[in-house]
Amino acid sequence: MAKATREAYGEALKRLAVDNPDIVVLDADLSGSTKTSEFKKVSPERFFNVGIAEQNLIGTAAGLALAGKIPFASSFAMFAAGRAFEIIRNTVAYPGLNVKIAATHAGLSVGEDGGSHQAIEDISLMRSIPNMTVISPADGREAEQAVLRAAEYVGPVYIRLGRMAVEDVYDDSYVFELGKGVLLRDGKDAAIIATGLMVQEALKAHDMLKEEGIDARVINIHTIKPIDRDIIIKAAKETKAIVTAEEHSVVGGLGSAVLEVLSDQYPVLLKRVGIQDTFGESGKPKDLLKKYGLTAEEIVRQTKEIIKMK
């Protein structure tokens, strides 16, 4: 069933409201959109709206964490990771506080609101901060589990969530493991390493490539930091060709993170499907993803190209 990862976040928060009395939730006047309103329905006394003030959103969360609470602070990724960057850096991550930043409406799939609201740099910003854990779930099930796991983990976490509904990648048996990449399809000709909503496109690409006799491995990297180096190096050794896919700028995102791992340990050919160092624009999410090359077709094209280069 198609579900937006932000919907799953709201459902996870509802569970946490009942299960864990230390959880508090903060929002900056977007609770209906970020789905923190779900938590408010169950536990209004532990929900704090700070108004349209994202710096204070993060700073207040830091204070709550210092007094023993487990705060989840939410806004759109543009304002959480962008506007409040320095507060996250200095007041949350530098002292290693137990603050969870769940940022919704990441990437181009925000759609009609346009380039000013489409965070395509947030993975890059967040993973550059020491102490920060960065999670980018692929579907609703993974998002829900990631949120529950983040609540147990002690330390700062950034969770990247989307506005648009995404198809299920996993069934009910899926168990999320923080920091562990997931091998979704095995293959020897190339490896497609994807995150977020591009995981479903990678799976489609796998099927399309199979019809042409190409055997592509598919890996989901939901935890971008700390990244699963082993699964990446293994894929590099066994396929010698990697294609990364992300709904994020190719500057500093998953593609860059994978490149860093490879160049440290086992350099192989690599191509990056993602937003090619440009801003987004208004449009229907599907139309934008197509225009900016965030599709299974583009993954197929680049995979075939890299195999030729081997």
Partner: protein, 282 residues
């Protein structure tokens, strides 16, 4: 504790602040010296803090984190950190970072990592919200610089504190009138400070930030105010206690040389610490 005893502690703190910064050859003497009486009063009269790890303790956030030496100095007088650390300020591997770092001094009285201006009031708000939520009696105090209130985040936090009726929160403004580039009014007009905070829903109290009687009156008045946050605007002198530093913007972030240090220590006289590490608790 009598006010005369507080004066002895304050003088020890001044000497230790100057020694720290002199040894480090860098740091912020002006805004550390201006806050000495405020910090002395908070830690020895106002706050409930006998141990830096007791759950019941009141919390203090140094929002103007560059005043780190005054925080370290008061924590030394409380016995929470050793005076042997005085020569280590700002040196590699030190616990006494240039700006307060909770990770370098865990459980020793630094309640938040600060230094990037404008963020401490939000942190204090979060603490105060948590105590309200848990119906705990802990109070929260935050020391702000007057230059610092140029930051927009301070006003985001000011709004939140009154919206959530944080009467367990008290801000103190170290109003010394100077910031790095000069006088407040020349850099960025912040007046009328009292009317601004009143308009944001705060109870405002004025005090002489170097006079314990005045500070006592202010903190006692604060206790009578329910249902809202309060700010004590404490008029102070930047570089207080060191004649050549007083009211000089140039002494915001500069260490004294040997001659200046000796002169300053001479001015401080014999009251309090006689030498580094030899204070009340030494």
């Amino acid at each position: 504790m009598k006010h005369d005893d507080l004066k002895v502690i304050a003088n020890s703190m001044r000497k230790n602040i100057l020694t720290m910064i002199y040894k480090a050859k860098s740091g912020h003497p002006g805004g550390s010296l201006s806050a000495v009486e405020i910090m002395t009063y908070l830690y020895f009269k106002e706050m409930n803090i006998d141990s830096p790890t007791d759950d019941k303790r009141d919390r203090f956030v140094l929002s103007k984190g560059h005043g780190a030496p005054v925080l370290y100095a008061v924590l030394m007088e409380k016995g929470f950190i050793g005076k042997d650390l005085i020569p280590t300020l700002r040196q590699v591997d030190t616990k006494l970072q240039g700006h307060p770092d909770i990770k370098k001094l865990p459980g020793a009285g630094v309640e938040a990592s600060t230094g990037s201006l404008g963020q401490g009031l939000s942190i204090a708000n979060g603490m105060a919200l948590a105590f309200k939520l848990d119906k705990k009696p802990n109070r929260v105090f935050a020391l702000l610089g007057d230059g610092e209130i140029n930051e927009g985040m301070i006003w985001e936090a000011a709004m939140l504190a009154s919206h959530y009726r944080l009467d367990n929160l008290t801000a103190i403004l170290d109003h010394n009138g100077l910031q790095i580039d000069g006088k407040n009014e020349d850099v960025m007009t912040i007046t009328p400070i009292d009317k601004k905070f009143e308009a944001f829903g705060w109870h405002v109290i004025h005090a002489d930030g170097h006079c314990f009687e005045s500070l006592e009156k202010a903190f006692e008045e604060r206790k009578t105010i329910k249902g809202k946050p309060a700010i004590i605007i404490a008029d102070t002198t930047k570089g207080k206690g060191c004649s050549f530093m007083e009211n000089q913007a140039g002494w915001h972030g500069k260490a004294p040389n040997e001659d200046e240090y000796c002169r300053a220590m001479e001015e401080m006289g014999d009251i309090g610490d006689k030498s580094e590490g030899g204070g009340l608790n030494g």
